[in-house]
């Protein structure tokens, strides 16, 4: 039975109906998952211990209370006793909770110390949170030099516009369980290796969270936080940005693909080829059409969230680029500067660290020619020179 059938009833009958229904009996929708790393399992165990301790204390306390409520009521002729103190009792119920708490603190401390130990990592990846996407830089090992920008998958991005999604059934059919949890470029890591993450933010604070890995950590602008994981099982693990980071905070998913070492090696080789291509591409002169075509893609994934697909922006927060002085006229230097260095103190991030030369040239050229703008072409070489 699905929810729709029981809307008519009161809230309570809805719950009763639902609890019996299939969708909600699914344990994974009721409790913390135990995940795929030693950390996530340790955390899950800890969670279950404290949960049960609380349940037991609850049964004792509420039990006593309910017993008193049933037996010591005036309507049953109870006569009130007049005691109002018992030092012995009060000492006991101070000591017992302390003992319980200490016994909880011990495993918690152990788990925490293990989680915070980022030493002896096999490889490191830098994670940068940007409004509203993630950037992954592989900074050492065989994959060094690979860099990915990971944003909400375009199909999901279209479906999440106001009124676009239709019914829940539509969403379920189209996306299954992954609605808003799919990206264009997932983070790929090898299984069995200790991967160290260096987290930072480009604009505001974000938080990188994949429940199956067992932790989340904030990505703070100007500082680097460290964390680590070692995934045992190949698979696709999904998560979300967990710190409010503005308008599209809810649309900033994370997908981690853990690959067996061989598959991972193959993936690295493929990515390296892309990197080499990109480097070569930056050195040649591009045609206007190619730049615009590429720029449109870059724009859609990186800029449209604020400046809107039609270039109109959302004034006053996000300026229009269509028809604006900065994207017209023959001198592109201001435009290049605005995109590369951003506008400190606003949502406009500095994109020179986020996009490569070709993508920057492409997106600027696109902006200068789309929506009736007439601003001419910017070549990758010019970007390189401006760095």
């Amino acid at each position: 039975m699905r929810v729709r059938g029981s809307v008519a009833g009161t809230g309570l009958s809805a719950v009763l109906a639902l609890a019996a229904g299939s969708a909600l009996a699914d344990w994974s929708l009721l409790n913390m998952r135990d995940g795929v790393t030693s950390t996530s399992r340790a955390v899950h165990d800890l969670h279950m211990i404290i949960l049960w301790v609380c349940v037991v204390i609850g049964i004792v306390v509420f039990g006593a209370m309910i017993y008193a409520m049933l037996r010591h009521r005036k309507s049953k002729g109870a006569v009130a006793a007049q005691f109002h103190e018992s030092t012995a009792m009060e000492v006991i119920w101070t000591i017992i909770p302390i003992v319980i708490l200490v016994s909880m603190a011990i495993p918690a401390t152990k788990t925490l110390l293990a989680m915070e130990d980022t030493s002896k990592a096999d490889m490191s990846i830098k994670i940068t949170g940007i409004q509203w996407k993630w950037k992954y830089d592989y900074i050492d090992g065989e994959a060094a030099g690979i860099s990915l920008i990971s944003s909400l998958h375009p199909d999901h991005n279209a479906a999440r516009l106001r009124g676009a999604s239709g019914s829940v059934e539509n969403l379920r059919e189209q996306f299954g369980d992954t609605y808003l949890r799919e990206v264009d470029n997932p983070l790929v890591i090898p299984t069995g290796q200790k991967v160290r993450f260096l987290l930072t933010g480009a604009d505001v604070i974000h938080s990188w969270w994949v429940p199956d890995l067992g932790w989340k950590k904030d990505a703070i602008p100007g500082f680097v936080n460290e964390s680590w994981t070692r995934v045992d099982k190949p698979g696709v693990y999904r998560g979300k940005c967990a710190e409010l980071c503005g308008k599209d905070h809810g649309f900033m998913p994370i997908v981690v693909v853990a690959m067996a070492p061989d598959d991972y090696k193959a993936w690295v080789v493929r990515q390296k080829a892309h990197v080499a291509q990109a480097a070569a591409a930056a050195d040649r002169v591009w045609s206007k059409e190619d730049l615009i075509a590429r720029g449109q893609d870059v724009y859609r994934t990186n800029c449209a969230a604020c400046h809107q697909p039609n270039g109109q922006g959302l004034p006053p927060a996000f300026p229009a680029l269509a028809g604006s002085p900065i994207s017209n006229g023959s001198d592109a230097s201001q435009h290049v500067e605005a995109v590369m260095s951003g506008r400190p103190g606003t949502a406009m991030a500095a994109y020179k660290g986020l996009l490569n030369d070709v993508d920057l040239a492409a997106v600027i050229t696109y902006e200068r020619n789309a929506w009736g703008n007439s601003g001419g072409v910017v070549q990758p070489a010019e970007i390189k020179a401006a760095r």
Binding site: L30, A64, E85, L101, L112, R162
Partner: protein, 526 residues
């Protein structure tokens, strides 16, 4: 002193001024208490209406009603309005009404300042709500206003900051008044350890307020200068740190959550003995527990920040300190249960709300304890598990205590009895629906739904719908509450002076409603 006596007499004979002037110029603690309570109820409905927008958008996955930015400002302002506009003024209103009557004082110690404390509030919230009509919209960075995000706000930013300053000034003045009243205005014989617990908890609360509101003022001032004057407090490039804001904020913020619950403990400690017809168990340990909670509340703030990347010793310290708070809070819960034990209980509406409070607050306390376990908090943090936690302590905690207090003292204030049948209906509908509203949010959080998002994956659809339905019913049942109050004020059975058979305390020795000036003649306390 003869001249003084003459003018003095004249004042007293006036009674309240007529019409609007009475409410604007009043220095009477009861009038001011009423103003606070009416204001708080209004804000509760405004904040609640925003909550209804939130629950309506979350009714189904997909974006249906509002834009993401507006959704963010709904959650932000919902929280600010509920905390600073509803719960705190409601407690201050209760303090105004009750503390002088409970300690045998003629009025609050500083009556004119008392009036000012109140009248700042409507202006402060006008300012806050007016930001919705400015370029860039209302604040949308969460009620915690973390930079750099909060600095991205538009024209409304300085208005919001000043609104917080004003509300803070109001609370500080209100708290000074409460402390001075309690320390200086007690009737002869009313020693500290004879004071009702509501007075005790408010004494500690007022202390917490005076110690922390200025810190919040400092924090938001730094936000203001970071945005407009080029300072670098929260900017790493200049040597500051965005996380520094969080430390300063939570140094205020954590004591703040006890500000929102200590007076509630006082209320429950008044109501349970009345309806159990048995003295409160462990009065002095209640006092010590309250002071320990207040002390501990200053050294646990960073449990809101386990994921910001603190050094691990810091995480351990804040984890242990936070867990400790369960001990004094437990003492309170056990004392209430012992008070009920072997009593002769009856279950009028105030008692129902008090019992509801004890159970559901404890549930919220348990989830709080789970959150305190740092490694587990790495999973819970910023999910609906946290949202469930704090609504259990805030709605079924703070709000329930305020409802209990209203039913308990309304007959004293108005001289008329409320409609017991409607009161009971209100309690049962609220209690069933509030659990439908917030209990499933534990599941959502554990299953991986982050908080502060306007849209979510389909596997969360069912529980969100349940939660929203619970929310609508709970919201609607508050209309019943409003009706009960209005009905009582407009007419009803005459209430006796003592009102409740088992009630104890000075306020019940006065007539119902009490005279305009409570104790012109100090009562004698045995």
């Amino acid at each position: 002193m003869s001249m003084a006596t003459a003018t003095h007499d004249a004042d007293h004979d006036h009674g309240p001024a007529k019409g609007l002037k009475r409410w604007i110029t009043t220095t009477n603690h009861k009038d001011i208490g009423t103003l606070y309570l009416v204001f708080a109820l209004t804000m509760f409905f405004i904040g609640g209406a925003m909550a209804m927008v939130i629950r309506a958008e979350l009714f189904q996955p997909g974006m249906q009603l509002v834009d993401p930015q507006f959704f963010n400002s709904m959650i932000t302002v919902h929280a600010l309005v509920m905390i600073f506009g509803a719960v705190m003024p409601a407690f201050t209103g209760l303090a105004n009404w009750l503390i002088p009557m409970m300690i045998g004082a003629p009025d609050m110690a500083l009556p004119r300042m008392n009036n000012l404390s109140f009248w700042i509030l409507p202006f402060a919230f006008t300012l806050l709500l007016s930001t919705f009509f400015m370029e860039g919209g209302g604040p949308a960075g969460g009620w915690t206003l973390y930079p750099p995000l909060s600095l991205q706000m538009g024209e409304g930013f300085p208005f919001m900051i000043f609104a917080i300053h004003l509300a803070g000034i109001s609370s500080i003045m209100g708290s000074i008044n409460v402390i001075v009243t309690i320390l200086n205005m007690r009737a002869p014989g009313m020693t500290l350890m004879k004071m009702p617990l509501f007075v005790w908890t408010w004494l500690i609360t007022a202390y917490l307020l005076i110690a922390t509101m200025p810190v919040l003022a400092g924090a938001v001032t730094m936000l203001l200068t970071d945005k407009f004057a080029g300072t670098s407090f929260f900017n790493a490039a200049g040597g500051g740190d965005p996380v520094m804001y969080q430390h300063i904020f939570w140094f205020f913020g954590h004591p703040e959550v006890y500000i929102l619950i200590l007076p509630a403990f006082g209320i429950i400690s008044a109501i349970v003995p009345t309806f159990a017809r048995k003295p409160l168990f462990g009065y002095s340990s209640m006092v010590y527990a309250t002071t320990s909670i207040a002390f501990l509340s200053f050294i646990v703030w960073a449990h809101h920040m386990f994921t910001v990347g603190m050094p691990v010793v810091g995480e351990l310290f804040f984890m242990y300190a936070t867990m400790m708070i369960a001990v004094p809070t437990g003492v309170k819960v056990f004392n209430w249960v012992s008070t009920m034990w072997k009593g002769a209980m009856s279950f009028e509406t105030p008692m129902l709300f008090a019992i509801g409070f004890i159970m559901m607050f404890t549930i919220g306390g348990f989830s709080g304890l789970m959150l305190a376990i740092a490694p587990a908090d790495f999973q819970y943090h910023d999910t609906y598990f946290v949202v469930a936690h704090f609504h259990y302590v805030l709605v079924t905690g703070a709000i329930y205590s305020i409802m209990a207090a209203t039913y308990y003292w309304l007959p004293k204030w108005t001289g008329k009895m409320y409609d017991e049948r409607l009161g009971k209906i209100h309690f049962w509908v609220s209690t069933l629906s509030v659990n439908v509203l917030f209990f499933p949010q534990h599941f959502l959080g554990l299953a991986g739904m982050p908080r502060r998002i306007p849209d979510y994956s389909v596997q969360f659809a069912d529980w969100n719908m349940v939660s929203s339905i619970g929310g609508f019913v709970f919201g609607a049942s508050q209309l019943l509450f409003l009706w009960v109050v209005i009905k009582t004020v407009r007419g009803g059975k005459k209430a006796t002076d003592r009102v409740w058979e088992g009630a104890n305390g000075l306020e019940w020795t006065l007539s119902s409603p009490p005279p305009y000036h409570s104790f012109s003649e100090a009562p004698v306390i045995k």
